[in-house]
């Protein structure tokens, strides 16, 4: 079911703020989880669920639905918040995140709750799964589109590049990868592009700074060129600019003959000043005081 009326950019921004507030509350309540990479992809998920995807929250197993495969399975706070806001389940349930007996697990579990397309948690697996779905769609003559949301870390896994080769080899033009390119991962900074410290010279290989965060863990640049060399059509956009993001996703869907990738340049911890570009909040929950400040910043 396509959205009957187009959700405006202002409305999308409001929804994304709600999703960000859920992310802060969920991780604070659970005192665990991954806020940084959830905040960085909140706008991407908002654009997908409220503008791009053909889906029906009342019928999550609809065979003709577009698929969103979330490969970065640690982004559960954002995924569950987006699903709840889209109407897949009541937002009240978000409070149970990571609790014993909850459907809302630490990392995504396929069909739990309905709307979650794949089990993830080990990085690098989403693109292969997406290709399987894309091939099945083509075989069955269904016109759904498969989107795969991936992280920097996903793109360091060898399986992703096995899958990148295979997607192009099979000319899977019903598949679009979206990279939440926030340049920060578990141990620290992926490369130098978000690392601002003029006092330290850039050097090859990773190095560990005083707070034990690593700098330059694994540079993926030249990133878009890598995808192009693998046979993909690539776009680079600001992943927090809804208009640009949606335009790129629409172009990608319309593109024929090769798989497509939208590299969304994002900010880890986007929207919460103490989390922005801060590796500490990759896998650490805010304290209640930090959460209070965060929620003030995210207020409407």
């Amino acid at each position: 079911m396509a959205p009957t009326e187009t959700v405006s950019i202002e409305q999308l921004e409001a929804i994304a703020r709600r999703i960000r507030r859920h992310i802060v509350r969920m991780t604070t309540a659970a005192q665990s989880g991954h806020p940084g990479g959830s905040l960085s992809c909140a706008d991407i998920l908002t654009a997908l669920y409220f503008r791009v995807l053909r889906h029906d929250p009342q019928n999550p197993r609809w065979p003709d639905r577009d698929r969103l495969i979330v490969s970065k399975g640690h982004a559960t706070p954002a995924v569950y918040a987006a699903l709840a806001e889209a109407g897949y389940f009541p937002t009240d349930e978000l409070r149970t995140f990571r609790r014993l007996g909850s459907r809302l697990q630490g990392h995504t579990v396929m069909n739990v709750p309905p709307g979650v397309e794949m089990s993830a948690g080990a990085l690098g697996m989403g693109l292969s799964f997406s290709l399987g779905q894309a091939l099945a769609g083509r075989l069955d003559g269904r016109d759904y589109h498969v989107y795969c949301l991936m992280s920097d870390g996903d793109c360091e896994e060898g399986q992703t590049w096995e899958a990148a080769m295979a997607c192009a080899h099979h000319q899977a033009d019903n598949l679009t990868a979206i990279i939440d390119r926030n340049h920060i991962q578990n141990d620290g900074f992926s490369d130098y592009l978000r690392y601002q410290d003029g006092n330290r010279p850039q050097r090859p290989g990773g190095w560990v700074r005083e707070d034990l965060h690593t700098v330059n863990i694994m540079s993926l640049e030249p990133f878009a060129d890598k995808w192009r060399a693998f046979g993909w059509r690539a776009w680079q956009v600001d992943g927090h600019d809804f208009a640009a993001l949606i335009a790129a996703l629409e172009e990608a869907k319309a593109h024929k003959g090769q798989p497509t990738v939208v590299i969304a340049e994002t900010t880890k911890g986007k929207g919460v000043s103490l989390m922005e570009n801060n590796p500490t909040f990759h896998g650490k929950a805010p304290t209640p005081e930090q959460a209070e400040q965060a929620l003030r910043e995210l207020a409407d």
Partner: protein, 333 residues
């Protein structure tokens, strides 16, 4: 007993069986990682090009693609050598298939040291331990090509993850309908009733009351030969084909313990974590009796002809018979 028995490789069962089942209307797709000739999956690709997906030498991706296809309702078969799938892509098998319980059938050939000349790197002797460690997988080790065909069909017709282990060399066909040399007394009486593989049922190949040998894969033939050796000494040896490791035949194990009082397991696999361990867990829990384990003892394989390797690693009728005598001596008086 064995009259010029027919030989065949159990890996040859996959492709032709899938072709037959697809012609019957089953929604089968096959993903392949550059070993389709060896696993016989290419025979399916030849008949159904649109449903055969080559992934190149990339097993992790192959398993992920199979899972995606399965999530869209396909019966997804993936095949490779057992050292490559599951062993090269264990995490993908665990995360993409086992945890969501998707309808993926991993049919791996080149199980065991009987893989032969390619040596230790190509000989999977850990795969059963690995696959039995994943709760949602059903694990089948067919004794021959006939049983392998049936196991592939059962897997295709049953929802959920399956692991089927086949072998490279041409081995004696146990379930050769034209010879019908084996089978229980009831089976022999039931004229014209061919063997049908069933999940969770271990076929009684030879009745006996002194000791039971439970074997799978290529060791089934060795177990039958061991029983012949023992018969010459007046030892009445029961032989079970333990092809369905999960679900296993708990009742057959309990009955063997109660009726024969001693059990030997035999497998072309490490003695840890495979058939031996599986039987031992049930025996320890439900019916303690002396047991012995014939298999690979904490070591890797080596190059050689497959039949030479069975001798070299003591995966032989003689060794099974020796183990049978040894467990019988440990029976409480």
């Amino acid at each position: 007993m064995v009259q010029a028995a027919r030989t065949a490789a159990s890996r040859e069962a996959l492709g032709p069986t899938l072709v037959r089942l697809a012609r019957e209307g089953l929604d089968i797709v096959v993903v392949d990682a550059d070993l389709g000739v060896s696993t016989s999956a290419a025979k399916f690709g030849r008949e159904f090009p649109d449903r055969f997906f080559t992934m190149g030498v990339a097993e992790a991706n192959m398993i992920g693609v199979a899972a995606g296809l399965a999530a869209c309702g396909k019966i997804a078969f993936a095949s490779s050598f057992a050292v490559f799938a599951p062993e090269h892509c264990l995490d993908q098998v665990r995360m993409a298939v086992a945890q969501p319980g998707l309808n993926v059938k991993l049919v791996a050939s080149h199980g065991g040291v009987v893989t032969g000349e390619d040596g230790a790197s190509a000989q999977a002797i850990e795969d059963l331990a690995i696959m039995l460690s994943m709760p949602t997988f059903r694990v089948i080790v067919p004794a021959d090509v006939v049983e392998a065909e049936q196991a592939v069909e059962v897997a295709a017709r049953s929802y959920g993850p399956f692991y089927i282990r086949t072998v490279r060399p041409k081995t004696v066909v146990i379930y050769d309908d034209s010879l019908r040399p084996f089978g229980s007394a009831q089976d022999r009486q039931a004229q014209g009733r061919p063997y049908r593989f069933q999940l969770g049922r271990w076929h009684l190949l030879r009745p006996g009351l002194d000791v039971t040998v439970m074997a799978c894969g290529v060791m089934v033939k060795a177990a039958l030969d061991a029983a012949e050796l023992l018969a010459r000494e007046g030892i009445d040896c029961r032989v079970l084909n333990a092809s369905s490791l999960r679900p296993m035949d708990r009742e057959a194990v309990v009955a063997a313990a109660a009726e024969t009082g001693a059990i030997v397991t035999a497998e072309d696999h490490l003695v840890h974590g495979g058939l031996g361990g599986l039987v031992a867990e049930t025996v320890a829990r439900e019916c303690p009796v002396p047991m012995a384990f014939v298999g690979m003892e904490d070591r890797y394989g080596t190059s050689g002809r497959w039949d030479e390797l069975l001798e070299y690693f003591h995966l032989t009728p003689d060794r099974i018979a020796e183990a049978a005598r040894e467990v019988m001596a440990r029976k409480p008086r």
